[in-house]
Amino acid sequence: MRDNDTFLLPGFYIPREKLKIIEDFLFSGFHVMLAGNPGCGKTEFGQVWAASRGIPVHKVNCGAIRSPRDWFGRHEFREGTGTVFVPTKFLEMLERPGLIILDEINRTTPDNHNPIMNILDGNREVYVEELGRYVRVHDGTIFLATRNTGRQHTGTFHLDHALEDRFQEVRLELPPEEVIAQIILAKYSIPSEHAETIARLTVKLNDMYDEEMLSKAMGMRPAFAAAALVQKGNSLDAALRYAFVNRYSGEGGPESEQALVMQTIQGLVKRT
C-alpha cells in the first residue's frame, strides 16, 4: 500500500469513499455529524481536513456552553468603559467563510442548542440582542459536529430530534491494523514489531468490544500512550499493561475485564 493511498489527509487515515462523502455533503450545504468511538479521530479529522484544504477553522467546545447566550458572547466590566459585550469567536466566524467544528455537541443541555437552531437550518441567521441586529451566516461557512453516544459516556445528553435532523451522520472507524502501525511509527521512534503489536492489540480489543467481551471500545489514544512509554525505554509488556489495562474494570477478579485484557496482552507479546 502506498503512503499517499493510505493517508489521503496528512497523517490521518480515512477511507477514500468516506472522505468524498463528507466533502460532498459539506460542499452541498449539508452539515455533517461525525460519530464513532472515542479516540477514532472525530475532532482531529475536522482540523486536519480544514488545514489540508486551506479553510479557516474554529472549534467550539460545546461542553463549555452553560447557557444559551454563551454561544454569542459575554458581558465584561472594563474600567472607564463600563460593562461591554464581548462577542465570541464563534459569532465572528459565522459571518466569514470557514469551517466551524461543534465539538462534542451533545455535552451541553438541549435547551442550550436553541440559539443555533436557526443558524443550522435554511434561515442561516440569528438575531443577537446585544448587537441589536441579525447575524447572517456566510454562504461559505460550513458546520461539522462531533459526538459520543452511548450509556458509557456520562455527561452527554440526547440531541433534540430537530437538531439531529439538521446533520448528516457519518461514522468514523478505527483504522486497519497496518495503518495504525504506520501512524504510530510516524509519531514515535520505536521498533516496527512493537508498533505492530500495539496496533494488533488495539484492533483486537476493539473487536472484542464488538463481540461484547469488553464494555469499552478502543481508540487510538491508548496506542499512542503505549508507544510513548516504549519510546521512553519501558518494556513493551509494561507499556501495554499501563496504557491499556487500567482503562477497564477490575471488578470480578479472574473474570474481570482487566484480567481479559491482561490475557490478550499475554497472548500477543512473545515471552523472551
Binding site: E193, K204, M208, E211, E212, M213, E251, G252, G253, P254, E255, Q258, A259, L260, M262, Q263, T264, I265, Q266, G267, L268, V269, K270, R271, T272
Partner: protein, 576 residues
C-alpha cells in the same frame, strides 16, 4: 520479525530445543513462572483458609477466566465449554458441534511440583487447543473412523498444525500449550496411562507431542518426525498452514512409518533431540529465546537447511530426489507437470484400511489396548452414579427473539406484579395498599361501598422483604416438548414464559436475587444450565435458549442447584 523468523521461533520452541533445555536446565527455567499468575492474582486463587463457599465462588470465577482465553483467539460465544471433573473416566472427544470438554484434573490431581497456577496454565492450554480443533477443522474425518492408525495420525497432524497456527498468531500463548502437553501427554498419558514409546505410532506421537525427550529406535519414526517439521516449515503463514490437507498428511506419515523398506531399520534407542536434527552445533539462533549460538540472523527451518546442518541424517533416504523432482509430460502439445509427492515412493501402502500387514501383531495389540483405554469410559459400569455439570451455554442466535416473545406474552402480568411489589423497595415498607382499579371486578366494587376499609386495608405481606435468593429450576427434559393440556403451546414455552415473568417481575426488587436453571440428564451426567444469575454475567436472553432434551433427574438437579446457590451467593444482596 519476518514470517520466516517467526515460523522458526515457533518450531524452535514447540517442537525442538525446548526438550533439550528442559533436560539440561530443569523445568523451572524452561517453563518459567506460570503464565496465569499474571491475570490470576494469588489472593484470587483458592486458599485453604477461605471457607468452602468462598472457594467455590472463586473457583467458578477462575473457570470463567480460563474459558475466555479461547474467546480471545476465536471470538466469544462460539463454544460451549464443559468442565468435567472426571477426566479419567469420562473424557472423550465430543462430536457435538461447538462443545469443548475441559478437564479440571490438573487442579484436582496435580503432578509433583505443579502449583495451582501451573494447573490453571494446563487447563488454559487445553481450552485453547480444543477450541483450535473446532475452529481449524477443515475436513470431514468420518471416513477414517474405521481405521485406528490413520485416525490417530490425522489427529496428530491436526494437533501439530493447530499448535503451530496458535503459536504464530499468539506467540505468548505457546507456554499454555506446552504446559498442557506437559500435563496431559507427559504426566497423564506417559506416566499414568503407561503410554510408552513401544511401537512406531506411539513413538511418533510422543516425539511430536511430548515435552520431554522421547526415546526413538525406528528410522521410520525419525523420518516421519522430520517430514512433519519439513511440512510445517514449508508453510510459513497461517493461511498456508490452514490449507494443509491433514488426511493427506496422515496418509504420507502412514506411508513413511510403515514402508516395508525401512520397517526393519532398527538402531539403539536414542533420544530424539535437536542434535539429531540440527547437528551438534544446534540452530543458528541468538538472544534470550535461543541458545546463544550463532549470529542474530536466522534462516527458516527448511529441509534444505536441515540437510546442510546435518547431512548424515538424510543420507539414508532419497528425500531430496522426491522433493525436487518435477517432470513434465506433454500431451497434445500441452506441458503438464507430473507432480511427485514427497512420499510417492511409499504410496503403495497408503490405502491402509484393508492392508495392515506392516503393523506387527504386537503393535496392533498395543494400539487396540490404547484405543480401548481411550474409549472405555463411555461404556460405564453397573452403578448408577450421576455427575452434575454446571454449564453456561453460548447464546443461540434466536435466543433474544425467543426471550422477547416470552416477555411479551406475560407483559401484563409483569407490569401488574411489579406494581404490587414496588413498595418493597421503600425504606420503611407500606402498611396501606391502594388497589389498582384494573384489579377490581364489579362485585368487589359493590362490596366496597359497604366496606371502605377494602381500599385502605393493611397488608403486612408488602413490608420490606428480607434479602433472599429465589431460584427457579426448570425441567428441560424431553417430556417438556409435549403440549400443555389446553394444547396451546408446548410445556417448555410455558416454562420459558414463567421464567421471564419470574425474572422480570422481581428484577426491580433490591432485596431479592433471582436465579434460573434448567436441568436434564444424559447418560450419567446431569446437566444444569444457567439461564439467569444475578451476577455480572446477568443475561436474561439466555432464558430464550431453554430447549428440552434427554431425561429428568429431579433429585440430583435440585441438590446440585441448592449447593451451587449456597456456594455462589454470599451474605447480603448485591444485584448488578
Amino acid at each position: 520479525m519476518t514470517g520466516d523468523r517467526r515460523m522458526f521461533s515457533a518450531l524452535h520452541r514447540l517442537f525442538l530445543n525446548g526438550r533439550l533445555r528442559d533436560v539440561a536446565r530443569g523445568d523451572d527455567e524452561w517453563f518459567g513462572p506460570p503464565l496465569s499468575a499474571q491475570w490470576l492474582p494469588f489472593k484470587e486463587a483458592l486458599s485453604s483458609d477461605a471457607p468452602d463457599g468462598e472457594n467455590m465462588k472463586r473457583w467458578q470465577s477462575v473457570l470463567r477466566g480460563i474459558t475466555r482465553t479461547a474467546g480471545i483467539i476465536f471470538g466469544s460465544r462460539r463454544y460451549q465449554v464443559r468442565f468435567d471433573a472426571g477426566y479419567d473416566e469420562n473424557y472423550r472427544h465430543t462430536t457435538s458441534p461447538g462443545v469443548i470438554v475441559v478437564s479440571t484434573e490438573p487442579v484436582k490431581r496435580p503432578p509433583p511440583g505443579f502449583s495451582f497456577h501451573d494447573a490453571v496454565d494446563a487447563m488454559v492450554g487445553q481450552v485453547i487447543h480444543e477450541a483450535a480443533h473446532l475452529h481449524e477443522r477443515r475436513e470431514d474425518e468420518s471416513g477414517l473412523a474405521e481405521d485406528e492408525i490413520m485416525s490417530v495420525l490425522r489427529h496428530l497432524a491436526e494437533d501439530v498444525i493447530i499448535d503451530a497456527i496458535v503459536a504464530m498468531q499468539y506467540p505468548g500463548f505457546e507456554g499454555y500449550l506446552l504446559k498442557y502437553r506437559r500435563y496431559f501427554i507427559d504426566w497423564k498419558l506417559r506416566n499414568q496411562w503407561s503410554f510408552q514409546a513401544e511401537g512406531r505410532l506411539k513413538q511418533l506421537v510422543l516425539s511430536v507431542r511430548s515435552t520431554l525427550p522421547a526415546k526413538i529406535n525406528r528410522w521410520t519414526v525419525r523420518h516421519a518426525y522430520l517430514y512433519l517439521l519439513y511440512i510445517l516449515s514449508k508453510h510459513q503463514t497461517v493461511e498456508q498452514l490452514r490449507k494443509i490437507n491433514r488426511t493427506e498428511l496422515a496418509a504420507q506419515l502412514y506411508a513413511i512409518l510403515y514402508d516395508a523398506r525401512h520397517a526393519e531399520h532398527w538402531r539403539d534407542p536414542d533420544v530424539l533431540s535437536e542434535s539429531l536434527v540440527l547437528g551438534a552445533e544446534g540452530p543458528p539462533v541468538a538472544g534470550d529465546g535461543g541458545n546463544n549460538r550463532g549470529g542474530l540472523r536466522v534462516n527458516p527451518l527448511t529441509l534444505h537447511t536441515l540437510r546442510q546442518l546435518h547431512r548424515q541424517t538424510f543420507e539414508w533416504s532419497d528425500v531430496d530426489k522426491f522433493v525436487s523432482e518435477q517432470k513434465v509430460r506433454k500431451t497434445n502439445g500441452k506441458a503438464t507437470a507430473i507432480t511427485k509427492r514427497w512420499s510417492d515412493a511409499y504410496r503403495h501402502r497408503t490405502a491402509p484400511v484393508e492392508n495392515k500387514q506392516a503393523l506387527t501383531p504386537e503393535g496392533r495389540g498395543l494400539l487396540r489396548k490404547w484405543e480401548e483405554e481411550r474409549r472405555s469410559p463411555l461404556q460405564g459400569d453397573a452403578t448408577y452414579d450421576y455427575r452434575t455439570m454446571l454449564s453456561l451455554v453460548p447464546l443461540h442466535a434466536q435466543a433474544a427473539d425467543r426471550y422477547r416473545s416470552a416477555v411479551s406474552a406475560v407483559r401484563s402480568q409483569i407490569v401488574r406484579l411489579r406494581k404490587q411489589l414496588a413498595c418493597a423497595n421503600t425504606k420503611n415498607g407500606r402498611d396501606i395498599v391502594f388497589l389498582q382499579s384494573g384489579d377490581l371486578d364489579e362485585e368487589a366494587l359493590y362490596r366496597a361501598k359497604f366496606a371502605t376499609d377494602l381500599f385502605r386495608r393493611p397488608n403486612d405481606s408488602f413490608r420490606r422483604l428480607t434479602p433472599m435468593d429465589m431460584v427457579l429450576l426448570i425441567d428441560a427434559s424431553r417430556s417438556m416438548r409435549e403440549p400443555l393440556p389446553d394444547g396451546s403451546v408446548p410445556k417448555y414455552v410455558a416454562a420459558q414464559r414463567l421464567a421471564a415473568l419470574f425474572v422480570e417481575a422481581l428484577e426491580p426488587l433490591e432485596s431479592v436475587r433471582t436465579w434460573a436453571f434448567s436441568f436434564s440428564s444424559f447418560e450419567r451426567n446431569v446437566e444444569i444450565r444457567e439461564l439467569y444469575s444475578p451476577g455480572i454475567h446477568a443475561d436474561k436472553t439466555r432464558i430464550g435458549d431453554l430447549y428440552p432434551e434427554n431425561q429428568t433427574p429431579e433429585y440430583e438437579a435440585l441438590l446440585a442447584v441448592v449447593r451451587h446457590v449456597q456456594n455462589v451467593s454470599g451474605f447480603g444482596v448485591r444485584k448488578s
